[in-house]
Amino acid sequence: MDLANLSAHELADQLKSGKVSSVEATSACLQRLEKTAGLGAYLHVDANGAKKQAAEADARRAKKQSAGPLDGVPIALKDIFLTEGLPTTCASRILEGFVAPYDGTAVRKLKEAGTVLLGKLNMDEFAMGSSNEHSGYLPAKNPWDATRVPGGSSGGSAVAVAAGSCFATLGTDTGGSIRQPAALTGIVGLKPTYGRVSRYGVIAFASSLDQVGPMTKDVTDCANMLQAIAGHDPRDSTSSTEKVPSYTETLEKGVQGLKVGVPKEYFIDGMDPEVRASVDAALESYKKLGATLVDVSLPHTDYGIAVYYLVATAEASSNLARFDGVRYGKRVDPGKGLLDMYLETRGKGFGPEVKRRIMLGTYALSAGYYDAYYVKAQKVRTLVAQDFKEAFAKCDVIVTPTTPTPAFKLGENTGDPIKMYLADVFTVAVNLAGLPGLSLPCGFSKSGLPIGMQVLGRPFDEATILRTARAFEREHDFSARRAIS
């Protein structure tokens, strides 16, 4: 069997038993990467750096100083993470040539855990998009069908994991950017509770919504990755001091006696019948495993997209102001003074979707409109959060489809921003409420496209989400299927 098709924990077992080395696993990823280069997963490959780190991991293992389940495991990172000494562009032309001067906290933790960093992954520019078609460099393609999108914004991350060109990765999720591409590529993706993982060293899109999370081949890998990166960070004042439990300890406990909430607002007319059938079957499966299904209601679901696009764009318009050509990244200076330098730099550096969102956000914060848009959106946001609070009084987890449809065709939605935004209709509310949510494969369409379901939980209750997902995964082979053999 090709090493590149192992999950990270399967690889860890083989590293432990000495059957394979980290150097071999790294080569396997690099070979797979070459074979699947047309999928556009990577923006930057650091083959030499990775080989060196793999050799160091093997040396640690020889000296019995191995750090844990991730030591020697080759990973890659969404290009939104600052990685010292490596290019970090956020898939934007405005950061072309920018080399990160420091490591973000999650990156540092993964380095301390012994992972091998293969390179930086493609994404929608500044994480703005649901198809990876808004990358400033090249679109990424779905390994299950290269004429289709892998989802976004963490599209490259999803492709790399699904295609086996890395064993695990981190994405960021502002409105579904981990879960939606995970669903469209048949992998596991977790957006933890807001504040569970430090945002330090992650290029900000919308600060009150952004959260870092793992994207992996299965639930066990997801638990191991979360374990490595979770916890309070004194450099991020919004990170939580809530204690981090052991996620692996409770992983196999099953769902016996668990109450699974089913929100009627997420099973809408017009959603893809195959998606509906897969999620319905999964719910049946939970019943068989000893869980109770409970009807719950999230009445403000319809406002999710509108609220999201006001809050996220408002914050983004401010967060992206620092890309001005003065200190780093691209500078286009026609030599006619400061204003023209700003206009040309940002005009040429940002792609159309980023500009669209900066304009939307600037408008929402403008004098005379602020109360009508931003303030009102924040009020509705508290109502959305309240919905979940009330629902979780009746159940332990909530299960929904992750996306209304399986992967759509490249170019299918690019002409219609609103249609593109609706790809996030089931994922944005979780970000607005700051809750954790995980997507895992729950089926395949007749045409062979993966279908994902979402497991949502109470604040900081990732352990219950992971155990719920694992209980399903254990009974089915969806996570074990590989797009590339």
Partner: protein, 480 residues
């Protein structure tokens, strides 16, 4: 409008004070002044991608101290906001500030103008970070501009007054009182040349006797007491002339040009920035823990007005002397330290005011090579007759030059006063013999010549003889 109409100015001041913290508001970089460009910087204060702010707790304590000193309501919960605008010295493209929920509101500051006390209301105090500094190299061909981020994210408070001020003299007095208070509180070093304290003035005029406020202009970039007065006087005159000539004041931001001694328009109301303030999502609300404000209140040093009252009523100093001693926090601390060493209020006050401050010639007492306790010790040496007042002045000269302890100086120089009659008597005899004429005068009733004779004995003894003893001996020998 008629030409002889009299106008009354309405003035409000916004004081920006740099908080005396060692490190910046949102990162660990030093706030030290005068470092080479871009040496006190890190990824946070230069706005690198991915960075996040972490609040400096010391800055919060200092802001609370300022609030208490200005009798404000200190809010247990306040909020950070982003003020968005583009400028090269603003690395993030926004300044983290406080907007609609500032840390302090509703205080007051008493000021004295021409012997009259008046109260100026404080609207609010909010915390914010400073920007960097643009440096223009326009003296050479192909001129370039540079940015120095050493100041970027240095902590400031902005203290906004009510429009209670009615003259440039009041404005200057307000600035002086504010600087004095902030220095007392240890909140701000008040160094206006280094930019630690600066102000913007909102100035409008209205016909005397009317209620309605005129249209105001905001004058920026005022960084000395003199300039406060000059800028406001200029602006009052400009606006009054304008109205007298039938014109209208427009709402705008004007810049004080200290070289030209005038204000000039910077941007009109139409050109004003829309700062698009919104709550800073990278920082939780600033919540002061239970009891924090009370603790800070307990640690609050004595305020200038309280000190003034204590010096006059408890220590019995004249209002004039008390004013001089309390004007500057360091001088007052110096005096208090002297008094703690030796309890002779009047004498110590005289020494501090008439000798030490005079010698300083406007320099700060902190530049001295000795502390207040040395003056206490010096006066004690006079009071217990170890040295004469004249020798004490020599000791002070030594202290000024080299520092050290007065007692040690007196010992090492052998300046201990001679109180042994056997040692003084021969000098007295010698002086009397050489000044028979004066002795005759004395005997004839002109007793005031004794001062002259005492002086001669003191001179002969090189100042070491005890003057009272010399006096006694002279009287005795002349049969007085």
């Amino acid at each position: 409008m008629s030409n002889d109409i009299e106008f009354e100015p309405v003035i409000g001041l916004e004081v920006h004070a740099q908080l005396s913290t060692k490190t910046k508001l949102f990162c660990g970089c030093s706030t030290a002044f005068g470092a080479p460009p871009n040496t006190n910087v890190c990824e946070v204060c230069t706005g690198m991608p991915g960075v996040l702010p972490v609040l400096n707790a010391q800055a919060v304590e200092l802001a609370v101290r300022a609030g208490l000193g200005l009798h404000c309501t200190v809010h247990e919960r306040s909020q950070w906001s982003r003020k968005n605008y583009f400028y090269p010295d603003l690395p993030k493209g926004y300044q983290i500030s406080q907007y609609d929920k500032p840390i302090c509101t509703g205080g007051k500051l008493d000021i004295e103008v021409d012997g009259q006390t008046m109260t100026v209301g404080i609207t609010r105090i909010h915390m914010e970070e400073d920007a960097g500094k643009n440096v223009h190299d326009d003296l050479v061909a192909g001129a370039r501009s540079y940015v120095d981020f050493n100041r970027s994210s240095v902590p400031l408070i902005e203290i906004v007054s009510e429009p209670d001020i009615r003259s440039s003299a009041q404005a200057a007095a307000y600035m002086k009182a504010m600087r004095q208070l902030l220095r007392y509180l240890g909140v701000c070093d008040g160094n206006m040349e280094e930019g630690s304290l600066r102000c913007d003035a909102n100035v409008s005029v209205r016909p005397k006797g009317t209620e309605k406020f005129g249209t105001r202009a905001e004058i920026k970039n005022i960084n000395s007491f003199r300039f406060v007065q000059q800028a406001i006087d200029y602006e009052i005159e400009r606006q009054s002339e304008l109205i007298r000539a039938g014109g209208k004041v427009v709402q705008e931001t004007r810049l004080w040009d200290s070289q030209a001694k005038s204000t000039r328009s910077m941007r009109s109301k139409e050109e004003a920035h829309d700062y698009r303030y919104f709550p800073e999502p990278d920082l939780p609300d600033l919540v002061l823990r239970d009891g924090f404000v009370a603790e800070v209140g307990k640690r609050l040093p004595e305020l200038p007005s309280d000190k003034l009252t204590r010096y006059t009523s408890k220590l019995g100093l004249s209002p004039y002397d008390a004013k001089i001693l309390t004007e500057d926090a360091e001088v007052a601390a110096f005096f208090d330290a002297a008094l703690a060493t030796h309890k002779n209020t009047k004498s110590i006050a005289n020494w501090v005011i008439n000798e030490v401050l005079r010698e300083l010639k406007g320099n700060s007492v902190e530049s001295l090579k000795f502390k207040g306790d040395a003056i206490g010790e010096l006066v004690k040496l006079i009071d217990d007759s170890t040295i004469s007042g004249k020798i004490a002045k020599d000791v002070l000269v030594e202290l000024m030059a080299h520092g050290g302890s007065p007692r040690a100086i007196v010992d090492s120089k052998g300046w201990v006063q001679v109180t042994d009659t056997g040692a003084i008597e021969p000098i007295v005899d010698q002086v009397l013999a050489a000044n028979a004429e004066s002795v005759e005068k004395y005997k004839a009733g002109k007793t005031n010549v004794i001062g002259f004779l005492v002086g001669l004995v003191m001179k002969e003894s090189k100042g070491k003889a005890n003057p009272a003893m010399v006096n006694e001996l002279l009287k005795k020998k002349m049969g007085g």
